[in-house]
């Protein structure tokens, strides 16, 4: 291996291989068209090709592979949700994440760092105890921890009792992790394209053709494509794309902002989150502190970064880790989050036959990428809704059966 690296370094031409070859011409017909070339879209294509033998699939991406919320999220993986439907779904995803590098033979840099959520009030402790009980019952490692344990887990956390919101207890989630978000999309895209799936970048869906209640074709800026089934996995553009198919959605789009510091030596292992001061912080393996969790106060289709969020995120991060006052910010950015009223996704069947929804991923989409790929591919291939995603169907809003995860998502990730 060292000689290989040496040879690589001394080679005059650049010997790196492309991960895969992007498709060139659009075919006239595909079995399945997937709108959206992010983590979810590529994961669905990968599972269709590898486990269901459906390879006549096109992923149509308006921009470039993994360039939307897949690139903008803060890469947090966890399953300490509150409802049975939520915990079962996300814990299955965490299991898949743990094996993802093996599945791809491609490193997604999974780091099982654990996640600590902080309680600064009695009410928060009560809700954490509730979550810990639900989690443990469903086999997720999640427990209420006291101040001493918190100080041992995160030695440089501000445990002062004189701060504005002193830390009273925490919810420790040993299954919490982070992974390289881009690598997840690249791994899925490579695996899908190696098996015959076509990735068409710079291909925007302009209209969706529906004949007697079923989808028959999509019109793109590069021509018309006939298809037997369509899956939309477009995050922030969910309402806009679904409208082309005549499907109203219970979604509002808010920008979610995050920022990152320059790299520093490693001092922080777990992911630390505080719903009270609205921030979460972790240090990446290359040393940058990722500071996230600032949703804008009103809806917007824009990914600008604002001074207000920079100020509030910085203040909150410094409350938890006073030494961050010395850190220099490297960049700040935003993603358009498609928020649902109950903070749970909308997955499964739609009112249009053969048109499948993978939407409403708000601030919780990245952690669900692998399980979303598995379940949505099963749905498209078998036309039967897998039990794991049945509770997340669009119909739940018409039956007033929301799956309330607002509390477990309070720090917006």
């Amino acid at each position: 291996m060292p000689f290989g690296l040496l040879k690589y370094g001394l080679s005059s031409d650049y010997p790196a291989k492309h991960h895969f070859t992007p498709a060139t011409e659009l075919k006239r017909h595909y079995d399945v068209v997937i709108i959206g070339g992010g983590g979810h879209g590529t994961a669905i294509a990968y599972n269709l090709a590898k486990y269901h033998g459906i390879t006549n699939v096109a992923i149509l991406e308006k921009n470039y592979l993994g360039g939307g919320n897949t690139a903008r999220n803060t890469a947090v993986i966890r399953s300490n949700y509150l409802t049975e439907a939520g915990v079962n779904f996300y814990s299955e995803s965490v299991k898949l994440f743990n094996n993802l590098s093996n599945e791809f033979n491609y490193n997604v840099m999974m780091e099982n760092r654990g996640q600590l959520t902080l309680a600064h009030s009695d009410a928060a402790i009560r809700s954490f105890r509730w979550r810990a009980e639900v989690n443990q019952h469903l086999g997720v490692r999640s427990e209420l921890v006291d101040r001493q344990t918190i100080a041992e887990l995160v030695p440089n956390l501000n445990m002062s009792e004189d701060s504005r919101f002193p830390i009273m207890a925490g919810l420790w989630h040993a299954d919490g992790a982070t992974a390289r978000h881009d690598a997840v999309a690249w791994g899925y895209a490579k695996g899908a394209c190696d098996r015959g799936v076509e990735l068409h970048q710079l291909t925007e869906v302009e209209d969706i053709e529906i004949t007697s209640g079923r989808v028959t074709a999509v019109k793109t800026n590069r021509g018309r494509v006939e298809c037997n089934a369509v899956v939309q996995a477009v995050a922030g553009a969910s309402s806009i794309v679904a409208k082309k198919a005549g499907i109203p959605l219970p979604i509002h789009c808010y920008p979610l902002q995050a920022m990152v510091t320059q790299p520093y030596k490693p001092v922080l292992t777990p992911h630390v989150s505080s719903p009270q001061v609205h921030v979460y912080v972790h240090q990446t393996s290359r040393g940058e502190f990722v500071i996230g969790g600032g949703s804008d106060p009103y809806p917007l289709y824009h990914t600008r970064a604002t001074m207000e969020q920079r100020e509030s995120l910085s203040a909150a991060a410094m409350e938890l880790f006073p030494f961050l006052a010395q850190a220099r910010l490297l960049r700040q950015w935003a993603g358009t989050t498609d928020m649902t009223p109950d903070y749970s996704p909308i997955m499964g069947l739609s009112p249009v036959e053969n048109y499948y929804l993978d939407a409403g991923w708000g601030t919780w989409g990245f952690k669900a990428t692998p399980i979303c790929g598995v379940t949505m591919a099963e749905l498209v291939a078998t036309k039967k809704v897998p039990a794991l995603i049945k509770p997340f169907e669009l119909e739940r809003f018409y039956r007033f059966e929301q799956i309330n995860e607002a509390g477990a998502t309070a720090a917006s990730h």
Partner: protein, 98 residues
């Protein structure tokens, strides 16, 4: 600092305001089934472009309407809800509702 003009209090920092959701005419309570109510309550146009929405000046609890472009974040105009609600809405139950 971004400003929003309250029809009652004049231009104020937008941090003094609370966003109140898209404006939709309320369906007729006597002719609406539960599916239509669900759509009215939960579903949104979520349009990219100029929308009409509710805002509240938090300090004075004054509710009003605004036209805002959701792709550029430009507020086109704000106006008193009287412009839309210019006649009395009958909320009383019909006899067969009782």
């Amino acid at each position: 600092m971004k400003l929003l003009t309250c029809p009652l209090n004049g231009p104020r920092n937008i941090s003094e305001f609370t966003y109140g959701g898209e404006f939709h005419p309320m369906p007729d309570q006597h002719k609406t089934d539960s599916r239509q109510w669900a759509e009215y309550v939960f579903f949104h146009d979520n349009a990219a472009g100029v929308v009409t929405e509710w805002w509240c000046h938090t300090a004075s609890t004054f509710w009003f309407l605004a036209e805002r472009n959701t792709t550029t974040d430009q507020v086109i105009r704000t106006f008193d809800a009287n412009e839309v609600f210019n006649q009395r809405i009958e909320f009383s139950a019909m006899e067969d509702d009782a």
